[in-house]
Symmetry: C2
Subunit: 180 residues, 2 copies
């Protein structure tokens, strides 16, 4: 897993993949599955909908840190498993055979087996809407992985992997930010 | 285009497709391409990042209404075209051969050629983060369309269409809301 230019980190989230979000509460690592995220700006900032109904929320709001890990399609069953059990009773890294890796900026762990990871700091919580605003501090991408497709949750219990890719860079050139 | 149970409307946005957002300023319809959206709750509420840099933003903030239209993969070039010209100089419905259709709750038009449409009211603007919070009022789905794949923007000028679908409804059952 090697560093990815932070100016490209928003391209990991913009397509809308289901992600794993890790936290560390001072004693234990935890992971939650989150599908409700979006990019807020290129710097990069991200928004994520979460709240007290997620066990990780306590650690997230206390430490104001997390890692967004982007899983690949071959990790679908882990993603669903992580999303359907609680960190209150489970060590999810152990249960799902995932490896926590220490990052540089935050104590929440990267997930070695994921396609990409973004270390994040919480910069705001819009409590009225359960929206957490994150600033990306460092990004990592595993270029060696054969399975490069991400997964999108539909919300009805089905998921769709990435399919055909279309290149419209020429048409988009004037709209692309520096560094991508 | 037939009505879709509003309890299912969040499943149109949760996968993270690039969408077209229409507005009507009292004189003219307009369309913008938006990739930065997320679901906020099942009722449904959505969040969208936009601001004064989009010509549509003036109409959106004045009328507090819009329609989120979900295009299919065969509309990619229109989506990119709409995202790279300004409604200040262009009638985008005419230019891109799209048909505005009157909805029930808002004056912003549905787009007949899209896979799905959601009439929305602006319920809040979190100006600090350029996040607009929308409430979905009615949803529509064109079940007759052959091309059912949606498109995800990567942000670097490439786009990826939906690929293989995986069914994990059994594993997810306890987490699914009513009506989906």
């Amino acid at each position: 897993m090697r560093r990815l230019d932070l100016r490209k980190a928003f391209t990991l989230i913009e397509p809308g993949p289901v992600v794993l979000v890790t936290t560390f509460d001072g004693r234990k690592n935890n992971i939650m599955t989150i599908s409700w995220t979006m990019v807020v700006d290129f710097s990069p900032h991200f928004a994520m909908t979460t709240g007290p109904w997620n066990h990780s929320y306590t650690a997230l709001s206390r430490t104001r840190e997390c890692v967004i890990a982007v899983p690949a399609a071959d990790q679908l069953d882990k993603v669903v498993g992580i999303g359907t059990c609680s960190g209150a009773e489970t060590d999810k890294f152990a249960k799902f055979g995932l490896t926590p890796v220490r990052g540089v900026h935050v104590k929440a762990p990267l997930i070695r087996e994921c396609l990409a990871n973004i270390e994040c700091r919480v910069v705001d919580v819009v409590t009225k809407h359960n929206i957490v605003v994150l600033k990306g501090l460092a990004a990592y991408l595993d270029r060696s992985r054969e399975e490069k497709r991400t997964i999108h949750a539909t919300g009805d219990g089905t998921f769709v992997a990435d399919g055909t890719r279309f290149d419209r860079r020429k048409m988009m050139r004037a709209k692309l930010p520096d560094g991508v």
